[in-house]
């Protein structure tokens, strides 16, 4: 079934069909989630209205980890089964993940200023997310560093798998070290420690961001495939001109 979609034309058709199913619910969920987050959820008893930054910050952080994980998995699939779309999907996901990581760092910094009194602290959570950001940048740089694009995507795939070691470190950094960043309060063994009035908009944003990532990923994969084809066609044209 997965082999079937190694055919670019077939994948293209599938992507075109699927994209609205990702894009529309993503748009609706994000708009509705933002409405609940900004206007229709209670302010925090300690943090007041600044808590509303959470509704962007936390889903962006989830996505930063989720996108990296998906990137590492598709890199592994690409290296092991040599599926032609796997490297393409990792390549398409990297800039999206880097943007989510940047949004997470930026909103965290904006949240840190009123709450902690500083834009940045060198605690384990912040540092490991910053490393994640550098890993995304390294992945993209490595991918573009070779004259042979296939060499670049395989090298970058190995890097993505090595860098995956950082993902559990980020997740557990707040438990292993004594950090200024607050510990996990949503995904916990004992159930979430957030009231449902805040949890529901948070999940709406989380699901919305995930679907948005899905739509963007499909779009970027299609674009990359077209760009590759365009390059191939112009190369063929050049060869033809040279032959004549």
């Amino acid at each position: 079934m997965i082999q079937q979609y190694a055919n670019p034309a077939r994948f293209n058709r599938l992507a075109t069909t699927l994209m609205p199913w990702f894009a529309w619910p993503a748009g609706i969920l994000i708009v509705a989630g933002l409405y609940f987050a900004l206007f229709n959820s209670p302010p925090d008893y300690q943090q007041g209205d600044t808590v509303r930054i959470m509704y962007v910050h936390v889903p962006a952080a989830w996505m930063a980890l989720f996108v990296y994980t998906s990137m590492a998995i598709s890199s592994a699939v690409g290296l092991i089964w040599k599926h032609p779309l796997a490297h393409l999907s990792a390549q398409a996901a990297a800039p999206i993940g880097a943007c989510f990581t940047f949004v997470c760092l930026l909103t965290g910094s904006l949240w840190g200023k009123p709450m902690w009194g500083t834009w940045w602290v060198w605690d384990a959570r912040l540092t490991s997310v910053l490393i994640l950001f550098f890993l995304y940048l390294g992945f993209m740089a490595l991918q573009n560093a070779f004259d042979d694009p296939r060499r670049g995507e395989r090298s970058a795939a190995i890097l993505a798998i090595i860098g995956f070691i950082n993902v559990p470190i980020i997740k557990f950094s707040v438990d292993w070290w004594n950090t200024l960043h607050q510990p996990a309060s949503v995904v916990k063994m004992s159930g979430p420690a957030i009231h449902s009035s805040m949890l529901i908009p948070l999940f709406m944003m989380g699901v919305g961001f995930t679907l948005y990532f899905g739509a963007l990923l499909l779009l970027r994969m299609k674009t990359l495939m077209l760009a590759r084809r365009a390059r191939g066609m112009s190369m063929a044209q050049l060869h033809q001109q040279a032959a004549e």
């Binding site: 540092t127 550098f134 390294g138 740089a141 560093a145 070779f146 060499r151 090298s155 890097l159 090595i162």
Partner: protein, 221 residues
């Protein structure tokens, strides 16, 4: 095992013939460390406070300069393909390369580190931890750097790219290396930091040869 020692012998012979390559790295280490007092001022307490961090950071930067040459000459003259075709698995080649890199770069950096610590007036209690953390940390850096060198083999802008890839991965070594020295100076227990660094070394020893070999294989494809 004989393949390992053979490659190691070859690497060390090559390194000794061009001993200035290793010497330049150590010289860079010393010079970079000497720059800081000019930048921040020679106030003794501050320098002593900065000593562990400066020694570790400059050692890392010096090591970064040395990785680019790790596989490039062999790649260009074809001996890397000979090594790949030979009976020894590429993982073994990766370990031998990392070991040779440590002997020719890590070890000299480790020997030069106390000298810089003296210039920075590191408190006496810190020297034992400094040597131990360097002994545990520099082999880890050699192993991780070998992966970076294999990944960027034959790329454009190899050196800068290599640093971009390797530096995020060796930050833990830096954190626990300096934490151990700081703990030793303030009279706290050092053991936990050293154990973590030992864990990094063992983990890198197991995992990095696999990654290096995979990267070399696709570089030679």
């Amino acid at each position: 095992m004989s393949a390992l020692t053979l490659i190691l012998h070859r690497e060390i012979r090559l390194a000794l013939r061009q001993i200035s390559d290793s010497a330049i790295i150590v010289l860079f280490f010393v010079l970079a460390a000497v720059l800081f007092p000019f930048g921040v001022g020679p106030e003794p307490n501050m320098l002593a406070r900065m000593a562990p961090g400066v020694v570790w950071v400059t050692a890392l930067l010096a090591a970064m300069l040395s990785f680019e040459r790790l596989f490039t000459p062999d790649y260009e003259d074809g001996s890397l393909e000979q090594l790949a075709l030979g009976p020894a698995p590429l993982e073994m080649v990766a370990i031998a390369k990392a070991a040779a890199h440590w002997l020719t770069t890590g070890l000299p950096l480790m020997i030069a580190a106390p000298l810089i610590a003296v210039l920075y007036r590191l408190p006496d209690a810190g020297y034992g931890a400094l040597i131990t953390t360097m002994a545990l940390g520099t082999p880890t850096i050699s192993l991780i750097g070998t992966v970076g060198a294999a990944l960027t083999l034959g790329s454009r802008r190899g050196g800068v790219l290599l640093s971009l890839l390797v530096i995020p991965l060796i930050i833990p070594v830096l954190i626990f290396g300096t934490a151990a020295i700081d703990a030793a100076i303030s009279g706290f227990a050092v053991g936990q930091h050293l154990m973590l660094m030992g864990g990094f070394l063992l983990g890198a020893l197991v995992l990095t040869p696999l990654a290096t070999a995979a990267a070399l294989r696709q570089a030679l494809e």
